[in-house]
């Protein structure tokens, strides 16, 4: 899932321009799960903004299934038309979609979108996937060397791996390649680590330009 967190509230308060009406829109999917932009967070933020920005006559909040799909934005048409500005509590994709759909409206991001990751335990999310477009998890026992290794090495570990920890944060950060090594050892596939992995093709990543996926087989 996409993991995001709310911007510092004073930045949000400062970001909203003069307006007589503000609509706060949440998203019921990823950002609800990571407790950043679901209806609960919308209600709390809307309430605080009403107290912090008394200059804005009307501040209302709502939420939709997903902001990254046009079909769910249709239902917002009336409320958005009535607002001077919209504060989106979705991830970056949602904010942009909302902004495109309601061209001409000021659309602001309430969140900082962080990464694609997993919910490890209550209150703890971790980056798992970089969206590099060239998945190698079959070679590394299911542990991603690009995200779990601070340097994204394909032939790790480097010399900074100690006690199973990464030199970048030896107290908290596991060395990704140490994890891969142990996993491959347990799977009896250590021979995979002796192969010299060639340089990655970064053109499938954002380095190749903004990416698009077109599926002719499912187009209407």
């Amino acid at each position: 899932m996409i993991v995001a967190e709310q911007k510092p509230i004073k930045d949000i308060v400062a970001m909203i321009p003069e307006a007589s009406s503000l609509l706060v829109v949440g998203c019921d999917t990823c950002v609800t799960v990571c407790m950043a932009g679901g209806i609960k967070e919308v209600n709390a933020l809307t309430s605080v903004l009403r107290m912090a920005r008394k200059d804005i006559a009307r501040i209302e909040g709502t939420s939709v299934e997903r902001q990254c799909d046009r079909e769910f934005l249709e239902e917002l048409e009336e409320s958005v038309q009535a607002a001077d500005a919209v504060l989106s509590m979705a991830c970056g994709a949602g904010v942009q979609m909302l902004s495109d759909y309601f061209e001409g409206k000021i659309v602001l991001p309430a969140l900082n979108t962080l990464f694609m990751g997993s919910n490890e335990e209550a209150g703890y999310w971790m980056e798992r996937c970089l969206g590099c477009g060239d998945c190698v998890l079959d070679l590394t026992g299911g542990i991603c060397p690009r995200t779990r290794c601070s340097k994204g090495l394909m032939n790790g570990p480097c010399g900074g791996s100690e006690g199973g920890k990464c030199e970048v944060d030896p107290e908290n950060l596991e060395c990704g390649w140490n994890l891969i090594y142990n996993r491959l050892k347990a799977l009896n596939r250590l021979d995979s680590m002796m192969e010299i992995r060639p340089p990655q093709n970064w053109s499938t990543s954002h380095d190749g330009g903004p990416r698009r996926l077109i599926r002719e087989d499912v187009k209407l």
Partner: protein
């Protein structure tokens, strides 16, 4: 200054009952609302109370280890802290939330805290449990 007191059935209710025994009467600007446990409060309740006209919300619950429902008071504390921080960071100076942990016999401590809320600037003295009962304060601020 209108104050809402959200309290639990255990220490909260009992300490409120103490107040008349130590000669303290709740001012009319203070409303109370009882919940089984302070763990029942959520952010929405705190915020909507403030929006509905209360200037401050004081949550009154049991001491750390004494919650009948084990950790309801701890959860309440975290939620209250979160809202307090949000309000402060957003620059909202005229609304306050706070939580007080008490035992059933700490009437003076509660009275001092309420007085402090109603007359901001007059902080409760240290060791408020044994402080003398403050005068009733009914005026709005």
């Amino acid at each position: 200054m209108k104050l809402l007191l959200l309290h639990c059935t255990e220490s909260g209710q009992k300490v409120l009952a103490r107040l008349p025994q130590i000669g303290y009467r709740l001012p009319s600007t203070v409303r109370t609302m009882e919940l089984k446990c302070t763990g029942r409060i959520n952010e929405e309740l705190l915020l909507s109370s403030l929006e509905d006209g209360f200037d401050a919300v004081l949550v009154v619950g049991c001491h750390r280890e004494n919650c009948r429902y084990l950790d309801g008071n701890l959860r309440a504390e975290r939620r209250v802290q979160r809202i307090a921080r949000m309000l402060a960071d957003a620059g909202v100076m005229d609304k306050k939330v706070d939580m007080l942990l008490v035992g059933p016999d700490e009437g003076a401590k509660l009275a001092a805290r309420i007085a402090a809320f109603l007359a901001p600037g007059a902080e409760p003295a240290a060791g408020a449990e044994t402080a003398s009962v403050p005068a009733q304060s009914g005026g709005k601020k």
